[in-house]
Amino acid sequence: MPKITYIEHNGAEHVVDAEKGVSVMEAAVKNMIPGIDADCGGACACATCHVYVDPAWMEKVGKPETMEESMLDFAYEPKENSRLSCQITVSDALDGLIVRLPEFQG
């Protein structure tokens, strides 16, 4: 299973084995990673699963679609490498992915 590393705002690191096909948000929730709320459950409706993708992974993860981009625009402290983790699907290509969590969600 692909490994994903979540780094909390306080620096705490969590490495999880994520199932292929689920979203990076779902893998976080399943593994009880604090800092990802995902209020809407992955419908791209709430922007509470905001993550910063490690710059080395940005190309593989890809760019957000229009809906997601607009949501991110209003997330807490969006950056160039912001994504909604519910919109990133876990795959072998993302084995080793590192994402950082913002200080707040929503």
Binding site: V29, M32, D39, C40, G41, A43, C44, M67, S70, M71
Partner: protein, 405 residues
């Protein structure tokens, strides 16, 4: 002995409240009693991706079972509560077990209103609230033929979209003269009517159902006009009613749901309520609201959980809602009732627009169709009780971001 909190219900509000109690440092026992045999799960996909078979049940659960063990939340699933004794501070289950509590949360939700017309109990007449309901409806989507959907609210229209995707013939019956009449403005209703008509839905507005016919199994819906619509299945989505029976029997105050104060506390100081079953005073709208939505369940449960753990938190979240139909996302912020002016931004024909509802110059609510920027921005404006100039808003050249100071 350590304190014990009991949560009646195991839905989104119940799960959130338990988690929030722990986050706020509550160290006593937490017992969560749910009628369904499922771990707490999200209901919105039941009319959409889960119904369509795109999302498995394992992806509906809010948290894995290990979470509840780790947080010492004792899940009693498949168990129904028979009564609350508020004086003795006990809860008795239908199996006769009595548990005492120090703090109690009522998070019983709002089950669908049921029809009582002739034929309403025929096989194939279905409602949608639980995983079991969605599982029971799914075979109808692959069986072909026509489904009659009673009610053009969120549930009815979302199922209509799912059924059309599955290739079914779909007739939607709505008594009102427009769809989404309870939850959205006229421009938005008109947009969704066209959307469903374009996708081949047989939409009947101002159509009243009289009864169903069938020999054991439903085979037709008959309208008050006398018209008979043959069908293989029926889905009824005519709203929901708060589950207040336990609270009522325990002599708690009722006001369109279980009455709560601005701290999510009921008329009994040891009992709180949250989610679809509870009404609360809204500081933003200066009146009592009862909301049927996931965000309300989550936010109100956060408040209830924090206060049950000894906190002093006021519930003041901006209400919001969403609905996915075909490739269109509707996000609603606020409550538009009482609006005296509406402003349309964007182009409904381009499937991207927003409708802004004002009352005496103050922003009450926004319906945003495929327009998350309008959604996110209006959420901030409404939270800030912002006044908005309708003329500036109506100007297509206005950059929405300039409205936030």
């Amino acid at each position: 002995m350590s304190e014990r909190a009991i949560i009646i219900g195991a839905g989104q509000a119940a799960a959130q409240a338990a988690q929030s109690m722990r986050q706020a440092g509550f160290d006593g026992d937490i017992v969560m009693i749910g009628e369904e045999r499922e771990l707490p799960y999200q209901r919105p996909p039941l009319s959409k991706t889960y119904l369509q078979g795109e999302l498995g049940a394992d992806r509906l659960y809010l948290r894995p079972a290990a979470f509840y063990e780790q947080q010492r939340i004792d899940l009693r699933l498949g168990l129904r509560v028979a009564s609350i004794d508020a004086a003795a501070k006990t809860v008795t289950s239908e199996t006769g077990e009595t548990l005492s509590y120090d703090k109690l949360l009522i998070a019983t939700g709002a089950p669908p209103r049921r029809l009582d017309c002739a034929g309403a109990d025929l096989e194939g007449v279905r409602y949608l609230r639980s995983i079991a309901d969605s599982d029971a409806l799914r075979p109808a989507l692959s069986a072909g033929g026509r489904i009659v959907i009673v009610g053009a609210g969120y549930i009815g229209l979302e199922v209509a979209a799912s059924a059309r995707k599955a290739g079914l013939d779909v007739t939607v019956l709505e008594m009102a003269d427009r769809v989404l009449a309870r939850v959205a403005g006229k421009d938005v209703s008109a947009f969704y009517e066209k959307l469903h008509l374009d996708r081949g839905v047989d939409l009947r507005l101002g159509a009243a159902l009289d009864h169903f016919e069938g020999n054991g199994r439903v085979s037709a819906a008959v309208l008050k006009s006398g018209e008979r619509i043959d069908c293989a299945a029926v889905l009824v989505g005519v709203g929901a009613a708060p589950a207040i029976a336990l609270a009522e029997a325990a002599d708690l105050r009722i006001a369109n749901g279980v009455w709560t104060d601005d701290h999510a506390r009921t008329s009994d100081p040891s009992i709180w309520a949250a989610g679809d079953c509870a009404s609360h005073p809204s500081p933003i709208y200066e009146r009592r609201l009862r909301l049927e939505s996931v965000p309300n369940a989550i936010e109100q449960a956060k408040v209830a959980g924090a206060n049950m753990a000894g906190g002093d938190v006021v519930y003041d979240a901006v209400p919001w809602f969403w609905s996915d139909q075909y490739d269109v996302k509707l996000q609603t912020v606020g409550v538009s009732e009482g609006a005296d002016e509406t402003v349309l931004r964007g182009d409904p024909d381009a499937k991207k627009f927003s409708v802004w509802y004002l009352q005496r110059g103050r922003l009450l609510a926004v319906d945003a169709v495929n327009d998350p920027a309008a959604f996110a921005l209006s959420k901030r404006l409404i939270a800030a009780r912002a006044a908005v100039d309708a003329k500036i808003l109506a100007d297509p050249d206005t950059d929405l971001k300039s409205l936030v100071s």
